[in-house]
Symmetry: C2
């Protein structure tokens, strides 16, 4: 009777997932012993071997739900990204992956929509993630409040928000570097294609500070556009039709490429400079000069910072800055 009961248990296991209890029965030990074995507790060499064999045979893996339930925390990190169709973002995710030891990422696309971003934060919390990494171009007050209210470890990227642990790109330094380079080009009339600082302060404001300072002695026009290729193309065309420019600086590579398209259509050949790190720069003709940030590195730092925040709960706000470098290509080359 007892034997057949155990036997049927073992049989019935075949199609379900084998549990710590099954292992215990098969090894004729208590489940707590198995648990200790699994977690590096003290077990005699003899039983260790016995259990080890069975665990391997049965391909046992612990039930993560039970673990999380018990431990009151888990190793799933919610990652909210503003968009997925962007090299910058996917490089950053690759960086997260790269450093990751044991966490799994729950990636949520916010589609550049603050409402969705907020919804994502709430949904992630209701799903009991162990923490949140938020990549963002813009923090609304609602989102700030939600982040502040959350008991979870949270790290953000993209904006230099003083209240949150964060990793940011050296936008200001990038602008200064580009500014210095621009001076060596001696442009006569410059078109700046920027985005509103309300939408993305790091880009719209920080990135352009140094550029504008460098253009103190040079005539320039600033036109506000947005991150979309079509919009940039349209806005650039309007501006370039109205006046003649010999240098166009886009807030992002994408915007610069939009301008290139317009320049091509208008048979104009100004020089172009972009920002970011995309294959854009090398797929367009001429290849685009660009200030490139290492988003991959940013991702790595982001993960490290998150782990630090989660495991050490630092009392002071952490801030990590990722630098970049100017890569000069044909679009500011001699033939222009």
């Amino acid at each position: 009777m007892t034997t057949s009961r155990v036997f049927s248990d073992i049989i019935s296991v075949m199609n379900k997932k084998v549990t710590i209890n099954d292992i215990a029965k098969m090894a004729n030990v208590a489940k707590s012993t198995v648990s200790r074995y699994l977690n590096g507790g003290s077990v005699s060499a003899q039983t260790r071997l016995k259990i080890e064999r069975i665990v391997q045979e049965q391909r046992y893996t612990p039930n993560t739900f039970a673990q999380s339930l018990k431990q009151q925390t888990n190793h799933t990190i919610g990652v909210i990204v503003p968009r997925l169709d962007s090299i910058a973002q996917s490089d950053m995710l690759r960086g997260l992956d790269e450093c990751n030891q044991e966490d799994t990422f729950l990636i949520v696309n916010a589609y550049q929509d603050p409402k969705r971003e907020l919804a994502a934060i709430e949904k992630l919390q209701s799903q009991n993630v162990g923490g949140i990494i938020l990549l963002t171009a813009n923090l609304t007050d609602e989102i700030r409040a939600a982040l502040t209210a959350s008991p979870l470890p949270i790290v953000i990227q993209g904006q230099d928000e003083p209240d949150f642990h964060r990793v940011i790109m050296a936008d200001q330094h990038g602008g200064e570097t580009v500014g210095a380079y621009v001076k060596t080009l001696h442009p006569k009339n410059v078109l700046l294609l920027n985005v509103n600082a309300e939408i993305d302060h790091a880009v719209g404001h920080d990135r352009f500070m140094g550029i504008k300072a460098a253009l103190a002695q040079t005539p320039y026009t600033e036109v506000m556009t947005d991150f979309k290729l079509d919009t940039a193309k349209h806005d650039a065309k309007k501006a370039m039709a109205a006046d003649q420019y010999d240098l166009v600086i886009g807030a992002t590579d994408r915007i610069a490429v939009g301008a290139m398209q317009s320049g091509y259509a208008l048979h104009q050949k100004p020089q172009y400079i972009g920002f970011g790190q995309s294959f854009f720069s090398e797929t367009v003709t001429p290849n685009l000069t660009s200030f490139e940030f290492s988003f991959f590195e940013a991702g790595k730092q982001l993960y490290r910072l998150f782990v630090k925040v989660r495991d050490e709960s630092p009392q002071t706000i952490q801030r990590v800055v990722i630098d970049g470098q100017l890569v000069i290509r044909d679009s500011t080359g001699p033939q222009h």
Copy 2:
């Protein structure tokens, strides 16, 4: 004593997560009553109101781990993608999102590496996801075996694998359409930049069948390259330096763009055709003629198919084909 115990419980809750038990105490009912309320069981209007108020006040959300543990299944779907820096993939993910009612996606990047793909499958299983959606360019025998062995609902996309529920793109039809169009261009000498069918059968084989058939009367050269821009550029340059072509067909937009770069460098101006749906086509100059698949639609169908497989366990293998359309742009335009 009892009062203060309850009181301290309520206080202590402030920083933790409120549970069904807390709600029950506050409402002076049993936790099973609260559970019934939450799951639409029978509760008197009176207690329903009482509980409702408290649940809302406390912003109670159930602990998903406890739920999953109890229910032995959960609403997390593992999605394995070959890469993230691709419009095709992110459009597909957007399609998944679009249809999604209540599932959450655990997105795993396999970085186009079969080993990682296999590892991802195993890891997802050990994390007890409720199913797997596999976007893939290539199924190894090991992966086939892992999929077959899995008890989970699984749907794949990308390859026309007869043993698995799948959503595929109409690569063959796309090739035929392009073939028919190519005939109208009356090219003298065509360069086909393809990828090895071993790496991606749907692309390397299916996609080019129709094209080659259409070129029966036309001289053409087939060069094998890979999906990377740099490789394509390199291989195209070699081929285009060795012979003169008036039409170049790339297995993907990216490959076609690589060829464009080489053509530009060599001062050649053939016509170009690509495959896929990317902003490539509209960022390069000239804009690229391309056979475009709706990956967004594919994502939607993929989710629907998955849900069907999960909820209805169909006995016959399901197969969904997503069509595309030829979009003619400047790269095959009159000025060439």
